[in-house]
Point group: D2
Chain length 466, copies 4
């Protein structure tokens, strides 16, 4: 998962990009980067680490210019290094930087093609570098012999859409020209547009921002305008002119259901649907499953697993008329294990991360609500923590159906999290997480819940649940 | 506010101290330090910053030894510097390091006394340095001509208790001897003892930990034994012998009410009272005030201000039969403002820190629950954020009475937070925070709520509310 | 001035490149960089600072692979930034990295040409980026539709030689292919080839190194083979095959006389001439000028200005039968001035850098020998230091003629050093440096001295003296 | 070896202390530290590393005040850590910081005494910490019940002189009082006093500096006044009053001969003797030994080993009428070996450090001049380097007698350098360093040479040569 941002302002863009990345950092905490365009000269800084660790004053000083793009990501490729952080840069044609969120399905084929046909060297395993080079190649083809125009960029992206399979929401900038944002034809990954109106209020002097989630726009004082449509590209030139074009057959967005279940911030709106509203609805519909499958009268208390599951758990408790309580306390300050000889110490990872309030569990029958069971081991640890704290019975309700496929282009699972539910029976899964009972949302309800937040949203990327 | 920890284990103590400080870091994020005793040689590292920033691998490597103390603190003295971080060290007599949580009321007099009588140089404005030098002076006096014994240490602390006024919960270590923990005669600041039982289970080979809050004991695999009693000192020698002595007239603890209202983690138990239980009870009793003062039928939804207020808000909503919702989303990744020329950018501090979910506020009448109104400006900003998000009426309920006195030895306010309610009328206060209505817990209810969590707890340090 | 190195070994190349840069660092202390090729993937690290500051263990770890290039440079462009450090990288075609030493005369024209014709974006003011993009453009043109061969690379460099005016000695690497070294047709800047013979001694398994000066080859255990000829390109493929081709009309090298006067290490051999031998000879011939212009009988002692002037000064003293002494002691540890308020302190720059031993100057008539008078202010400061130390008469002898032109492609003066002698009369110059007498080498003697070190060396780049 | 400095100025002292340490850094490059007194509050920063690495802007900012002391040192205790860097601090009595150069002979006994009698904890293996605690103990004893006076400090140092055996030249400061400098009764280690006269020129408003070598005074614009006499203490109060007292029987200084042979900068004057003059004289007298023992007619050239031996080698060549040349070129940029897997690379340490110019050695008979043969391995490496460069015969002349004893209080050898000549015959030593001939200065000549630089200097600390 990644967060992306692009901005064109009247003031230096660096602090705005930095602040926006902080607001998107729930989407990826492993690496961060910013590239700005200062009078046709790119400045770029990227590295592994949290945004606050990656950007020091000396880095920010070099990131000059009124336009720029930024990126934060979780590590998708094992032992990654700073070079794989985004944005990426190519110097021909024109000089282009790009950052993206998504997963290219035909990456290997594109790499071969780029190397043989275009003689373009791809230096890292990053999808973003592939995407950028396809873009560069197409821009080069589209702009033969003439000076660059928005139309050429749109032609290039239309070609890119035909060549690249998978999901991508991307921001790019062409040196000395402007900021470009585009989304794959299915709109699997989110991207939205915001504006800060100029003085005369008629579009002149407008400032623009693109961001993965609307929360970043609002946090930076930009008004949410709309989502970038699936298959659309929007280009904002450095003089503030906005050009938008639909490049593939227009159909509705097909955003990843996982954004609503787990990934996005609750205060974001994605493709017209409030994430918070969707989560409340997920809780409401899950309540029905619970009522159907469990003896709700025997449940003493409903509890969320963590912050993400909270809205659904509150609503579920309300629907079932059950007490809502929070017995797990997260530790907000995770540390690290030092490799110090002699080291007999093994840190108790779970108890470092979360603690159970004894009085809330002791002698009680608990219904835990989790957003989705992705990592069976983590779920099992919390169930056991509840038992150690005295719970006499622990049931588990998941606001999403079982995760059946580990890697589809809708979602890229971090390597260490393996879906618990691939090919397993319901009882196997229950036993695996050591719960006394296990209730899943069904797929239809999942769709209904998200549609409940925006009836116009008729399709969802749900391949991981099928 | 500070967190303190002291530990004697069979393994290297550095990782344990580091992990414990992370579990106590909600008590202070401005500075951190650790001092260990390795064969009578102290290693120490302390600096401003978060625990994870202060301790690098190279620092941890030097922190050898099986015993040590640690400290995390918020800056109490304006532009502080690394030297004021704790622990502190004096080399005569014996070599002693100390870390404390509290506030010395007669610090200036003690400084003069130490300088003139004892010719001891106090190099910083820190109370901890004063406390350590009083301890050193008394240990020197108590141990004249003989080798150090637990009895001498107890004599010294008894003298210290007579000289030092104010609140102090402290851990100290004497080089090559052991770990010492003591608490002022009123027990205003918390300190508790944990044990990890040795192999034979009869006290031999026991490992011990002292910590500000029980959550740190549990997180590190130590069983909570009891609180250090007010006026008591406990000494654990490096060979694992535990000596405890009550040094002042025994009376019940008089812990700071603010620990229960705001400071401590909800999953901690302080002087026998569960902080979580106290907060639930605060919500319950506050519900009665709300019912008496407001038309609860006209309230659409109850919301907590932030994580701290959540348990009380849940319980208050339950009692009043009102809907409970969370409309404010905290940003977990605070950043910083860079001083970059030209800098026309002023970051919107509040919108960086917290965001309001529009649908939860729009057109609604909201009752916000806050733990205590300490900083009127912050409270006002959130009230206004609720209005901007569309709330038609915003009432505020505080789980604590108005904060009347800014600096008493129970609580040391950070400089930038000035109590809003000093000398103001109820209506002034309401207008100041721009709420439509304002309900305070009364002092009697505050006491009752905390007593509800431990009936034996008959006294509380409440001077800031009087 | 810069130092460059390229290496192909059987072992990891990073430590070898690092060590070689240390041996070349007298050529530039402001920035350093290394790029390695690890299975067709480039790793690169570059930054401002000394080699020892730029490369940390974490950087070295990422610089994997058996082949690589390195660079150290002095800042040529005012307030430079890390991005302008070399090597540079382009990803199309093939992926190429390059580092160079020299000065491109028609840089502005090439930039325009690259931008308009080739649509290549040049992101920095660095000549190296221009040179690399010309190379990339020509390689692209030469390799249309076929796989890369040494012949294509030679064709590309032949084209580059026609397009690029000025001086350049360069090392480059093509990802997954090999190391390339080439020198401009005049051979103004030095570059030589070394070999470490493989086991069978017949060329198989040979390891190769290119470096600006022979001292780096010897220091790293490579045997000096020969200089890269002016206008020649040498390509070593990753499997160890060496291909060399003369690409311009063959004529003798025309190295910069300044290398022999000041720039190169005395223990290097450049285009067949020992720098040390040239400096001795410069002293010898300067002795004749001194004898002709001064009353040598009245000179008490001959002294060098600094380390660079020492060989010439020793030889001059010997020739004139005068005592040789060293009265200036360099401080080996330069520091910095902190910007600390209040800052009334102005550091005495000269006395920080060099100190005069009073007894060597007091009451004496001194002949100071300097390599070349480039920065009149520095020279004046030392003359005055000699007087303050008690010298009754201070004459100055320069082993080079007056520097007449500040910026020619032979030498790029650092901005702050302005030649003292542009358009000035001999007496003006003497007065400017406040010497009692001033003797210059004449141009003919300069040529003769260097030719004395290698009679085959018939031409020199001497435009700065004309 | 260490360098120390103490200063009282009208302006902030930090930059002055920093600059002075750079001028003294040839005496120790492993660690550095500064402590300043700012209105009775000490600020201190110390760490391992070069002065330029230890002090960053943030450190300098905290080092406020007009008075301070500084220290640079070579590591004397194997794997040292930052805590052992000087200065040291004790807070009782008064608050004292101290830095010293020397070697305490009865350190173990003093440690026991301090621990048992004074209950003072010594936390490191550093002699400086022992010396400081003896001083603190004696100041405490001397000042019982009364406010501190210069007389008390002198009493304390007189007692310290009786208790501490060995060599020590020290600077100290008492918080809020002033700067103290003292030297052991034999004056083994150097310490001198400088002044910058106040406006009226009559002592009022004078600024003072103490430093290990006069070069630091001169470099900072202080006029050399005199050496601190052996057994003398000088106290400068913060209001600028200077008090000096001779505390032991006055006899002439007995400085370490090694200062003149190797340690001090040539441009320093120690106890009235110019180091440079002493080195010239050492060369002159060594010439006689060479003439007596070798066939000087068969020697082609005289060469110094390195910078330290240069003055003696120049003078020796002059006396013998032999050619003087420099064939070894030092690399001014030493690097480090990274521990990188797989690491087949073993750096050639010597060729990294020094390079031989072939033409100066090839076919020649060389007389190498070294200051003193301390580390046989290093000497041997250079002899062999000369042979590899083609020398047909290599003789070695040492300006000092054989080093017979490794650790005497005159000199503390770094652990890795073991004197080559302990108990060995002349021929063993010659064979050990693989020279064709070996000539030592005799002890009488050593004394004569130094006396030649100051006839008043009748005694020398020469125990390492006996």
């Amino acid at each position: 998962m990644c967060g992306i941002v692009g901005v064109l302002t009247h003031a230096p863009a660096n602090q705005t990009l930095y602040d926006a990345l902080l607001l998107l950092q729930h989407r990826g905490q492993q690496a961060a980067g910013i590239a700005t365009d200062n009078d046709s000269v790119f400045a770029m800084h990227k590295a592994n680490g949290l945004v606050t660790d990656v950007f020091r004053t000396r880095n920010m000083r070099t990131l000059r210019g009124r336009a720029g793009i930024g990126h934060c990501s979780c590590a998708a490729y094992g032992p990654s290094c700073d070079e794989e952080a985004q944005p990426f840069y190519v110097n021909a044609p024109y000089g282009i930087t790009l950052a993206h969120n998504g997963q290219v399905a035909n990456g290997d084929a594109l790499r071969r093609e780029l190397s043989v046909t275009a003689r373009r060297h791809i230096n890292t395993p990053s999808d973003a570098e592939v995407l950028l080079n396809v873009l560069a190649h197409e821009v080069h083809a589209a702009s033969q012999g003439e000076s660059l125009s928005p139309a050429m960029l749109f032609t290039a992206i239309a070609c890119l859409q035909r060549r690249v399979q998978g999901s991508y929401a991307a921001v790019a900038q062409v040196a000395g020209h402007g900021i470009l944002a585009f989304r794959d034809p299915q709109g699997v990954r989110p991207l939205c547009l915001g504006v800060r109106a100029g003085a005369n209020g008629e579009g002149e002097g407008n400032e623009y921002m693109f961001a993965s989630e609307s929360v970043a726009l609002e946090g930076m004082g930009f008004a949410y305008v709309r989502d970038v449509a699936p298959g659309e590209a929007i280009y904002v030139s450095l003089d503030g002119q906005l050009h938008a074009r639909q490049l593939s057959v227009q159909h509705g967005a097909r955003p990843s259901a996982f954004e609503f279940v787990s990934l996005a911030r609750p205060d974001s709106v994605i493709d017209g649907a409030s994430v918070y509203a969707a989560r409340l609805k997920l809780g409401e519909l899950l309540a029905e499953q619970v009522r159907a499958q469990l003896d709700t009268g025997a449940i003493d208390v409903v509890m969320p697993f963590d912050d993400i599951a909270r809205p659904a758990a509150i609503q579920l408790a309300l629907k079932l008329g059950l007490d809502y309580r929070e017995g797990f306390i997260q530790n907000r300050y995770p540390g690290r294990t030092f490799d110090l000889p002699p080291s007999a110490i093994v840190r108790k990872a779970v108890s470092q991360r979360v603690n159970a309030i004894g009085t809330e569990f002791n002698g009680k029958r608990i219904l835990l609500v989790e957003d989705a069971i992705v990592d069976a081991a983590s779920t099992r640890e919390l169930v056991q923590l509840a038992r150690q704290a005295g719970a006499t019975w622990v049931a588990l309700a998941s606001t999403a159906p079982p995760v059946r496929r580990p890697k589809v282009y809708g979602v890229d699972w971090p390597a260490r999290r393996k879906p618990a539910s691939m090919g397993a029976t319901h009882d196997d899964m229950r036993a695996n997480v050591t719960a006394d009972a296990l209730v899943f949302q069904d797929l239809k309800a999942l769709k209904a819940a998200i549609a409940g937040a925006n009836p116009a949203l008729r399709e969802l990327e749900i391949s991981c649940f099928e």
